[in-house]
């Protein structure tokens, strides 16, 4: 059973002359442990597709199953629970909660997943893994962009999700930090077996991916497996 399974997913915005078909009959299977990159020009539907897989939005038609659960049958509350339990997010703009410290931001993911045991210890344990030891007490505005994205990665991974969805994770980072973040995600994918699904324009990111999916006009136009991604 695939971790994420999309069948005939379409997403349409607007009606009549303003109608936009953002996704057109997309079929996709993502297996557990994959490190997959979605690429394509702006407006090709990458973000819309990630929104569907991340259960942030509902498709106009089609079926989406996450870890065997048919999401079309779920209400808003159940979708929230599914996101909290099974999906980690990494955003282009980091999206840390500004009034919480780095440690509290990581704890937040566990709290919202309804977990209560050893939250602080588990959140603290993530910091050495993302190379941020000693920075737990800092607020987001006291961290560099690269550091903020590492906190976001820690927050995404701390609850051990089935899949981590990263939308342009290196777009707001300089090349050095971008490279480090990519290496970190790849390392965590290899070490923890966490599934990563990343949208990007960045050729470096594509070079790191084992599986590359190219999109155009709301459709998947190419789906390739690479035997030797960049280290």
């Amino acid at each position: 059973m695939a971790l994420c399974e999309l069948e005939g997913i379409t997403k349409t915005y607007g009606e009549g002359p303003t109608r936009v078909d953002a996704l057109k009959d997309v079929d996709l299977r993502v297996e557990a442990g994959e490190f997959t990159v979605l690429s394509g020009p702006s407006g090709s539907g990458k973000t819309t597709l990630l929104n569907q897989i991340g259960c942030l939005d509902r498709p106009t038609s089609g079926t989406l199953r996450i870890d065997g659960v048919d999401t079309s049958q779920l209400g808003n509350l159940a979708l929230s629970k599914l996101r909290a339990d099974k999906i980690g997010f990494i955003f282009q703009s980091f999206n840390l909660v500004p009034v919480l410290t780095a440690l509290e931001n990581v704890e937040l993911a566990l709290q919202l997943a309804g977990q209560s045991a050893h939250i602080r210890e588990r959140a603290r344990a993530m910091f050495p893994q993302v190379g941020l030891e000693g920075l737990q007490a800092r607020r987001p505005n006291q961290l560099s962009g690269g550091q903020q994205q590492r906190v976001a990665i820690a927050r995404a991974l701390v609850k051990e999700p089935a899949v981590v969805i990263a939308d342009e994770p290196t777009a707001n980072l300089d090349s050095e930090n971008g490279e480090q973040i990519l290496s970190l995600m790849q390392e965590l994918n290899a070490r923890l077996g966490t599934t990563f699904l990343i949208s990007t324009h960045d050729p470096r990111v594509m070079a790191h991916a084992r599986r590359r999916i190219e999109m155009e006009d709301g459709r998947i136009v190419k789906d390739t497996l690479s035997q030797s991604p960049a280290p």
């Binding site: 929230s80 629970k81 999206n95 840390l96 009034v99 937040l108 919202l112």
Partner: protein, 408 residues
């Protein structure tokens, strides 16, 4: 809930100035509500207690059609008290006393002034009209003796001091003009604005000689409780007959209390306006917060926060402002009311140039402190704040997470 509380508190602190401004309006509204209520209730108490302690007791019997409302205190129609009536009064009232009200002209050399005379029974008067706030410069008049107490207003107008003599002139019970030299034994400040302006106290034995009758014009009763008037009044009326009329603390104060009712409604309007401003401020503050934190809300939703908890988070922010503002408002409003309930506000400076003889009213106002008012005001302020947060909280909770996470 701890998480929501922590997020709400930190977000409020993040915009400390805005939070403070919004909270200030709640503080003002709740403070004004408690202060106004305490003051108006205090004035109501004052009106009632002044009527009871200085004017009519709980119930007073006087001749029918007595024209006190016109500022006249005639002595042509006086009361007879039979032994049966005395026995009845002894059984009915916890205390009763007879008074003779009269209207002498007080003459000191070339100057004169019309006074409001009260002939009192030294043995029983204080049982009905307690003199809790009286202060006498000099001493109480000897009885029998030709001595009187005068109000500071008369002393001031006639330049009188304790120990000086004046002439009291008035018409007797039968209409003849009478005059008597009397000595000012003391100058009494009762705190009752009317009495302190024109009051003159003389033992009834002296008044009897002045008006040539030992009969009183009024009989005043103190009952076990002020509300016992409803039960006692019919019996009292039956005992004293048709040629008398009864006045009670309630009838005496009805007009002033009606005015107080108008003031209370004005206060309610003011508080309504202030609370509406506070509610508007809270709605605006939470709405601004919701719009400023679109991406944050989207992130929380992406991390799994359900809509109802987003709603709660913003409601908690409104509630914190409401509870905090209400507590602060209750602290200053309740603090002042509590302070003035023990240490009265002295309004004598404001009544010196005002004719107060139509009112029985103490110039010392004790505010009326009640915990129930304070607690109700806190609950009211908090509730309004939460209600004012509902709309902006709904706006925040209905954000589409897919759009919100990428908002600028």
């Amino acid at each position: 809930m701890t998480l929501l509380l922590r997020l709400a508190l930190r977000n409020l602190v993040r915009n400390a100035r805005r939070t403070l401004l919004t909270t200030t309006v709640i503080v003002a509204a709740i403070g004004v509500l408690i202060l106004g209520e305490g003051f108006i209730s205090g004035v109501e108490d004052n009106i009632i207690i002044s009527a009871e302690d200085a004017s009519v007791g709980h119930l007073t019997v006087r001749p029918a059609d007595y024209p006190a409302d016109l500022g006249q205190y005639p002595v042509d129609a006086l009361l007879d008290i039979s032994p049966d009536q005395r026995a009845y009064l002894n059984g009915e009232a916890t205390a009763w006393t007879a008074r003779t009200l009269f209207q002498p002209t007080v003459i000191a050399g070339e100057d004169w002034v019309r006074a409001r005379g009260i002939g009192y029974d030294p043995a029983t008067d204080a049982g009905v009209f307690p003199r809790r706030l009286w202060s006498i410069e000099g001493r109480a008049p000897a009885s029998p003796g030709d001595e009187i107490l005068i109000a500071p207003g008369i002393a001031s107008l006639l330049n009188l001091d304790v120990g000086q003599s004046v002439v009291l002139q008035l018409r007797t019970h039968e209409g003849a003009i009478n005059a008597l030299d009397v000595k000012v034994a003391g100058i009494v400040t009762t705190t009752n604005a009317s009495l302190d302006m024109a009051g003159l106290f003389a033992p009834r034995e002296l008044v009897a000689r002045l008006i040539a009758s030992s009969k009183p014009s009024h009989i005043s009763l103190r009952l076990r409780h002020r509300d016992a008037i409803d039960e006692v009044a019919p019996r009292l009326k039956a005992r004293f007959g048709e040629r008398t009329e009864l006045i009670s603390w309630r009838s005496e104060t009805a007009e002033l209390l009606r005015l107080q009712g108008i003031r209370r409604r004005a206060l309610q309007l003011l508080v309504f306006v202030l609370m509406a401003l506070a509610a508007f401020g809270i709605t605006n503050t939470i709405l601004m917060a919701a719009h400023e934190r679109v991406r944050e809300v989207g992130t929380l939703q992406a991390l799994g926060m359900p809509r109802h908890r987003v709603l709660q988070m913003f409601l908690v922010e409104g509630a914190i402002m409401g509870v905090f503002g209400s507590l602060l408002g209750a602290a200053w409003g309740g603090g002042l009311v509590g302070h003035w309930s023990l240490t009265p506000i002295d309004f004598s400076a404001y009544t010196q140039d005002v004719r107060m003889d139509a009112f029985s009213f103490s110039v010392l106002i004790y505010t009326h402190f009640e915990w129930s008012v304070v607690l109700t005001a806190i609950a009211f302020g908090s509730l309004i704040s939460v209600l004012a947060s509902v709309y902006p909280a709904q706006v925040a909770s209905r954000m589409a997470p897919a759009d919100a996470v990428r908002a600028d």
